[in-house]
Subunit: 441 residues, 2 copies
Amino acid sequence: MDEHRVNVGMVGFGTVGTGVAKLILEKGDLIAAKTGIRLHLSCIVDTDITRPRPVSIPHGVLTRDLNALVKNPDIQIGVELVGGTGAARDVQRKLLESGKDVVTANKALLATHGSELYDLARAKGRCIAFEASCGGGIPIISSIRAGLAANEIQAIFGIVNGTSNFILSSMTAKGLSFPEALALAQKKGYAEADPSLDIGGGDSAHKLAILASIAFGDEILLEDIAVEGIQGISHDDIRYGAEMGYSLKLLAIGQKSGAGKISLRVHPSFIDKESELARVDGPFNAISVFGHAVGQVMFYGRGAGMMPTASAVVADIIDVALGNSAQVFKHMLIRPRAEASGRIEKIDDLVSRFYIRVMAKDEPGVFAALSRILADHRISISGALQHEGTGPDNSVPVVIVTHATGERNMAAALKELSTLSVVSGKPVHIRIVDIPEDRDG
Amino acid sequence: MDEHRVNVGMVGFGTVGTGVAKLILEKGDLIAAKTGIRLHLSCIVDTDITRPRPVSIPHGVLTRDLNALVKNPDIQIGVELVGGTGAARDVQRKLLESGKDVVTANKALLATHGSELYDLARAKGRCIAFEASCGGGIPIISSIRAGLAANEIQAIFGIVNGTSNFILSSMTAKGLSFPEALALAQKKGYAEADPSLDIGGGDSAHKLAILASIAFGDEILLEDIAVEGIQGISHDDIRYGAEMGYSLKLLAIGQKSGAGKISLRVHPSFIDKESELARVDGPFNAISVFGHAVGQVMFYGRGAGMMPTASAVVADIIDVALGNSAQVFKHMLIRPRAEASGRIEKIDDLVSRFYIRVMAKDEPGVFAALSRILADHRISISGALQHEGTGPDNSVPVVIVTHATGERNMAAALKELSTLSVVSGKPVHIRIVDIPEDRDG
C-alpha cells in the first residue's frame, strides 16, 4: 500500500504533547498500515527543552524557536498544545498564516476566539481540527458532524468535566464534603492546584460552546451560556436528592426549546438516578446527543489525561492529512452572530423543576408558611421530605421538589422564603433536569 | 456556500429505505447547509412499487428496473437495502461494476462475502460504506476507523442485537420465561416471525465479523466466530446469577489475548451488574471499545429501526459524497486470510470463569460429589449457592461459580457431572465475562 508522508510540528510539550509524541513515534507503523498516512514529527517547540519526559525524542526535533516550525514549508500540520488564550492564540494565527492546518485541544481558545481563528483559516484555505477539545479521547466532534450529519440535533446533555464529576461522585459514594472531595481529586491528579476553571463550570462552558456551535450551527459565545459551578454543593443535598431518586451531576446542556430557541447552560443538575448519565462515575465523561432521526446516542470515555487526549489529537492529524477535515471544516455551518444571538434563550426564561432546601425551625405551621409562599408564586409542590434536626438552633432541613416553574418565579420565591423568621440561612436551590430518555415503552 | 449535487439511487424500499427517503427528501436543506452536499434521490428500485409508504416520492423515481439505476451514469452512489446474501450480492456487484460507490446496511452480506465485494470495489476504484451495518444509528464504524485510528484496539465488547437484549432485559426485569419474552418482543415489533437469526446469535456474529475486521485489521470469517444463542436460557439462571452479582447479556466479543491471538465469540455472558454494559436495557445497543491509548470508550444508542438506521445510511452517503469514505476505504487494513487465520484463537483454547448449575438430589454428600469432580478437572470453585427445591423429584438447584478454567476442562467436567446419579438433567453452564473496566482507582 502506498504511504503518504506528512510532516507535523507541535507547539507545547507538556502532558498531552508527550502523549502525542509517543503515539507518533511508537505507533507510526500501525497508523501507516491502518490509514496510509506516515506521520513524521518534524519539530516540537517548547520553552522548556531540557526537562526529561517519558518519551525519547530524536536529536534536533526539540527547539525553543517557533520559527523553526512556522518558517518550515515542509511542515503541513501544526499542533497547538500550549493551552490558554494568550500565547496560544498567537501560535495558531502564525501557523495558519504560514499556510499550515491546525490541530488543537485548546477549548478555552476556541470558545473565546474561535470565530476569529476560523475566519483566518478560511481566508488562508486552511482548516482547524479540534476533536481533542471536548471529551478527551471520545470521538464526539466527528460523531456530531459526520456520524449524525443527517440529523437535526435537538439536545446535548454532557458530563464534560472529569474533575467535577470525580468530586461529585466521591461526595455521593463516600459521603465526603466538598473540600474533602476536592482534596482527594487534587491528590489523585484530577484537579489542579487552582481548580476554579473546573469546579466553577468554566471549562464545561468552553466545551459546551464548541459542541453547541457544531450541533446547532450557531456561533455561540461564552456569554450565551449561564454558568454555575459545584463549589457551593453540600453533601446533605446530594443525600436528600438521592432519597428522592436523583443523582447530582454538573451538566453542560444545549437544548432546543419549543419556540426554536436554544437553551445553553452549565449547572449542578439533579437527574433521574436510573438515567444513563447518572451512572457515569469518577473522572469519566459522557455526552448524550439527541437527533431527530437517531434518537439518543451516548458517548462515554475518559475526558482527559495524556493518552486519551493524545488519541484524539493524532486522530485529527490523520484526518487532516487525509483531507477529510478540510472538507468538513469548509462546510461547517456557523450562522453569523447577528442571526444566532436572537436564537439564544436567556436563563431567566428557563422553565424547570427545582429541588429546594431550607433550614427551618422545627415548630408547627412552618411547612404551611413555606408552601404558602410557593403557592403565592404559582409554584406547585410535587414532593417533600423532612429530616431530624441537624442545623444550628435545632433547625431542620425541609426539602421540597417542585413542578416546572420559571426562573423568575423561583428567584422571587426564594427571596421571600429567606426573609421568613423561621428560616435560617439562605435557601438552597438546584435545578432538576429531565433528560428526555429515549426509552423502550 | 457552494453546494455539490450528488445523485443517489436506492435498491430496496422497505423500512430502512423509507427512512432514507424521508431524510433525503425532508431534510435536504439541513444536510446541504451542514455539509455542502445536496442529495438528490434519482431512483428507488423495488419489486413492490405500489404499496403505500409513509413518505411522498416524486413521480418517476420509483421503479422495478434495476437498470434504471445501474445504467444511469449520472448516479454516483448506489444504496443497497435489499438485505440478505442472495439478490443483494448481485445488486452490489452490478452497482460497483457500473462505477458507483456503494452504501449498505447489509451485515449478513458483508460478513459472508465482504472480501469478494471489497476486492471488486478496489478493482473498480470505488468504495463500500457500511456504517449502518452495525449498531444502527451509532457511529461505531467511523469511530473505530477514524476517531480511534491512533489506537491499537485491544478488545470490543458489544451488545449488538437489540432483539436479544430486549428479551434478556424483559426476562430479568419482569421475570418472564424465554417464550413469554420472545412473544413480547414480537408483539412490540422487535422480533421477526422467524427470530432465529437474532436469538441464535447469528446476527451478532455478522456484526462482530465486520467490527473485528476493522478493529483488528484481519479478514474475519463467520466460521472464526464461536456462536451460542439465548434460546436455552432459563429465567432461573438469570435470577441466580443476579443474586451473585451478575447480569446476563448476549455479548459479541473480539479480544486480543496475551499471545497475540484474537478471541471471537458470541454467547450469553454473565457480566458484573455494575458494569456499563450491564445497564443497557431494552432494544438498545452498546459497544465498548478498548484502545491502548484511549482506554475504554463506550457507544450507546438504538441499534435498529427505521430512522436510526437511516441516519447512519445517510451519514455514509454524505461521507462518500465528500470523498472521505474513498480515502478510508482505500487504506482499510485487512490482512490476507493466510496471515489472519493463524491469529484466530479457537474457542476450545478460551480460558474463562463459569457459572454452572446442576439440579441435584437434596441429600448428604451431593455437594462433596460435585466439587470432587470439579477438583478432579482442576477447576476451582469461587462461590456457590443452593436454593430450596424446585425441580423434578425434589431436586434442588446447585449453582457454582468457578475461577478461570479452560473450555476443555469445563466440557469434560460437565460431562462427568451429568453422569452422577444424584444429578437430573443436563448441567447448565454460562461463561462469566470479565470486562476490563477502565475504572478510576
